[in-house]
Symmetry: C2
Subunit: 244 residues, 2 copies
């Protein structure tokens, strides 16, 4: 237990998932946090599940990730990032920039949902293996049509940003850059063939991925045990049959 850590993150212990977008912001901010469900022998899972329980907490979340910051208990990834961005200089201060960052983050949330539905197109209550034919159809559509539409959109955002430095919003690092890094990393893990085939269409986006990965705090995090590997329980899953 780190009773002095300003933040507690509640998320499933074995996957990057949506929690990873929050972890990256906390790591880039350089603030201490406890990844509650990953603590050993301290009933971390119980504490995580309590954050979803209306009988225990006034503001229960429908699903993790959930962040505790003192008296505040905050759910929904984009909501947490908006909060952390304002607190730690990972978002513009002016209204227009804040709105734009939140808008882009919500668009990242949309593609992340679509990535999830590639392996679970019919039901989250069935295993992947029980919906594989539908998953093939959905993933083929995703890699051929949706993925290039989304990444082309984000490439355009970078191209049209008048500020220098190849950031999504303004001229400084924001949580949107961190999330775009994670999106590219995850898509490369899940769909290496589709990404390799199309990558020349997104030079700015891939350069942003590399520049985020090279930032000292992020590079240290990615080498640490705090960074879980991608796996087939998370959102970005590599099933070769979905990436012909």
């Amino acid at each position: 237990m780190h009773p002095t850590a300003p933040y507690q993150l509640y998320y499933w212990p074995g996957i990057q998932g949506r929690g990873e977008f929050v972890r990256l912001a906390l790591e880039a901010a350089g603030v201490a946090y406890v990844d509650v469900a990953r603590r050993r022998g301290e009933r971390g899972m119980e504490a995580m599940l309590a954050s979803l329980d209306g009988a225990v907490t006034a503001h229960p979340s429908f699903a993790p990730p959930v962040l505790r910051a003192g008296e505040l208990l905050i759910g929904q990834t984009a909501n947490i990032l908006q909060f952390l961005g304002a607190r730690h200089g990972l978002a513009p201060r002016a209204q227009q920039g804040r709105l734009w960052a939140n808008q882009l983050q919500l668009t990242i949330a949309d593609i992340v949902n679509e990535v999830h539905d590639c392996h679970h197109p019919l039901s989250t209550n069935l295993y992947y293996e029980q919906q594989q034919p539908a998953a093939r159809t959905r993933a083929a559509d995703f890699t051929a049509r949706r993925l290039p539409k989304y990444l082309g959109y984000f490439e355009g955002v970078l191209v049209h940003n008048p500020a220098r430095g190849n950031h999504a919003v303004g001229g400084r690092l924001s949580y949107v850059d961190l999330s775009l890094f994670q999106l590219v990393a995850g898509l490369r893990y899940a769909f290496p063939n589709a990404m390799a085939r199309q990558q020349q269409a997104w030079p700015r986006l891939l350069a942003l991925h590399d520049s985020v990965a090279a930032r000292p705090r992020i590079a240290a995090y990615l080498k640490s045990a705090r960074r879980l590997p991608f796996n087939e329980d998370g959102i970005f899953r590599h099933y070769p049959e979905l990436d012909r």
Copy 2:
């Protein structure tokens, strides 16, 4: 053209869709707005599509709805509602309440996405009729498992709100209440059997639906030609075979 209207809404002209959550907020606030793509003979669709075009606008949206407010061009439904809520007293002023409202709105966005995927589980580039068997499987899972999980969650939010008045957030109307009204109305249109079967589980939520519908500005809107009917081009579609 209403050159003095403070807001221009860019959304598809023939459907309620996600634009309806924004329309309800504008109507409840009692502010003038132009529903741009629905203007006759004024190239409304062209203007709407320009809001998505990075060659024309600095902050293009990936998809509508988009709201113009003077110099600001704002995309993503929850982002627009957060903006309007703060401006027009449709959200709490204090940080904790603002975060909670945004969190609930993002959870509404999640179930709305799942409603959409009931009729389009495999691809947004195919017609419903081309993915009907998969749609039946997805809709059966949605109505049996996901719908009660989400609506039970929102019922709990209302039950556990310590303030009086049966509102989602605090003791006053917020954009979350308006969106919950639209969610219930849409689900009743799309899945009347599933909703009738389960409705006794959500007395607070259904009472909130009725109280929002009875508010003078909302009641006047619902009777007006500005309120489009539900139809099978929107998000909430009624296909009897998906609602056994």
